[in-house]
């Protein structure tokens, strides 16, 4: 059996008295796109933070391609595409500068880019359709282009396991289709993608498998088997009204 791209075992995370993740176990095989759905506060962000090693777990273990988080980070195995709200869009960097930051793990201590780094950045910009916008300040992009800029950074980084936090939030359907195409191409090349999303309707088109999270794993499997009415009620709450609210 091949080593899983991501393996989480009995992960429990607590913020003070609040239980954020309750003994979560899951395995994602390489070259898969796995959707992560659940309400706000269901533990999606906490799961990402645990995988990245940003929060200390009370119990449990995370492996990426057989490496513990610290090792995975220094080896450049894991990449992260942040939520829109986490980025300072007024920061004086251009698209090309942001994408180059994906290469820092491949560079020497002063991060002076070499030939291979410039080539990787050029290729990543091309793949995401941002070549003509390379010298724009990042805040001067549309919602979909902003997302693609950070996906381009992940492509340039060439991380095997990629965590994408709400890549479709605030993006119109046309731009969303572009992003989905880029993600499918990445999977085709062997990257593994864990994508948190609120877009239940588009889940089947995006993902090979889905995880429904509500502090614990409610369901994990093919999207159509995860998104059953029964599971959704369990994850999103009692009435259909609250389900709709959770989806938004």
């Amino acid at each position: 059996m091949t080593t899983p791209a991501l393996r989480v075992r009995d992960l429990t995370v607590r913020y003070g008295d609040v239980l954020a993740l309750d003994s979560v176990s899951l395995t994602v095989a390489p070259a898969r796109i796995c959707g992560l759905v659940g309400t706000n506060g269901s533990g999606k962000t906490t799961l990402f933070k645990s995988v990245l090693g940003l929060v200390t777990a009370e119990d449990g273990q995370v492996d990426m391609h057989g490496h513990r988080p610290r090792e995975a980070r220094t080896k450049g195995i894991v990449g992260y595409v942040p939520q829109t709200e986490q980025v300072d869009w007024h920061f004086p960097v251009r698209v090309i500068d942001v994408v180059m930051m994906g290469r820092y793990g491949h560079m020497g201590p002063t991060r002076r880019p070499r030939r291979a780094d410039h080539d990787a950045v050029t290729a990543a910009l091309e793949r995401t359709g941002l070549t003509h916008l390379a010298h724009r300040q990042i805040g001067a992009l549309s919602g979909g282009q902003r997302k693609r800029a950070f996906i381009a950074r992940a492509i340039a980084q060439d991380a095997n396991l990629l965590l994408l936090d709400e890549p479709f939030a605030g993006v119109d359907s046309h731009a969303q289709a572009d992003i989905v195409d880029v993600l499918h191409a990445m999977r085709h090349e062997g990257h593994t993608l864990l994508v948190s999303t609120h877009d239940l309707a588009g889940l089947a088109r995006l993902c090979d498998e889905a995880i429904l999270l509500q502090r614990r794993v409610v369901a994990h499997g093919p999207p159509e088997r995860v998104l059953t009415p029964q599971n959704l009620v369990e994850a999103f709450g009692g009435s259909t009204g609250t389900v709709a609210e959770g989806v938004r």
Partner: protein, 297 residues
């Protein structure tokens, strides 16, 4: 024309003026570099805090005959650590933690000053005395400036990454905590360098205004660094000369020159200035009605 040349050459014949120019230019350059990251991260208040918190260190160094840099650095770094401790271990928010720590340390310095019989040298610490720097002072400043410039030359890309996206820095195996510590250490060094030029009270201007000015003028970080340094060094030179000719406070004049540069950028920066922005809004509004008329017909 000769009058203008003499305005620059005559003061340069004096040894104390050459020293003053060297110190204020070094202070201007190092502070300008740091100011770019400080303004982008939102650490302006922290710059203010560190500069005030070094006062007791300087007074103690003076009392015990130690190099002023040793005392100032101890208290500069100590204040940052203390702010971190208060912030993490109590429910007090960061800005309040900063406010409590630096004013308290500054008060310690004020009390210590009042115990010193002759306080002429210490008022120089508060308001700067760049025209009276000694050779020992210059040696200390040169060493500290060399450390800051070397660290920045090696690590500036990592520091910018930390300022922009610490989570990505963490994800690729860097330590945001260590980069933060490096930046705070450099801030302490820079503040101590600039103490000699403009004094404790005005140091904070040196670590904010150049970065804030450059931020109004460009959307590219490397260019922002260059603009900040150019503005700051120019203000240092002009301020030092002007203070000589007008016989007024050097520190005050340098900061006023920086403030003048900020005002110009604030008003006239092509992209972000108040005047060009208002002009664009105005011309757009004027252009709109005819288009709408055509649409109606």
């Amino acid at each position: 024309m000769t009058a203008l040349v003499e305005w620059f050459t005559v003061p340069f014949q004096f040894d104390f003026m050459r020293r003053a120019l060297l110190v204020s230019v070094l202070a201007g350059a190092t502070c300008a570099i740091l100011s770019c990251w400080l303004t982008l991260i939102g650490w302006s208040l922290l710059g203010d805090a560190v500069s005030h918190a070094v006062l007791p260190g300087v007074v103690l160094a003076y009392l015990f005959g130690l190099p002023f840099a040793a005392g100032a650095l101890t208290f500069g770094a100590g204040s940052v650590a203390l702010i971190g401790v208060v912030n993490r271990t109590s429910r007090v928010k960061e800005d309040a933690a900063i406010g409590v720590v630096f004013t308290s340390l500054f008060a310690v310095g004020v009390v210590l000053i009042s115990t010193v019989p002759s306080d002429t040298d210490l008022t120089h610490i508060l308001f700067g005395n760049v025209l009276g720097v000694s050779t020992t002072d210059i040696t200390q400043i040169l060493v500290m400036a060399a450390v800051v410039l070397t660290a920045v030359a090696v690590k500036h890309r990592d520091l910018t990454l930390y300022a922009f996206d610490p989570v990505h820095a963490h994800a690729i195996g860097l330590s945001p905590r260590r980069l933060e510590a490096l930046l705070l250490g450099l801030l302490s060094l820079t503040v101590v360098i600039a103490l000699q030029a403009v004094g404790i009270i005005l140091v904070v201007a040196m670590v904010i205004i150049p970065g804030a000015t450059a931020y109004l003028l460009t959307d590219q970080f490397e260019r922002m660094l260059r603009i900040a340094v150019a503005v700051s060094v120019a203000a240092s030179v002009l301020g030092t000369y002007a203070s000589f000719h007008l016989d007024v406070s050097t520190g005050g004049t340098i900061v006023l020159a920086q403030a003048g540069a900020f005002l110009l950028a604030y008003l006239f920066s092509v992209r972000h200035g108040v005047v060009p922005t208002a002009w664009r809004t105005l011309t757009r509004r004027r252009a709109r009605p005819p288009r709408r008329d055509r649409g109606l017909r």
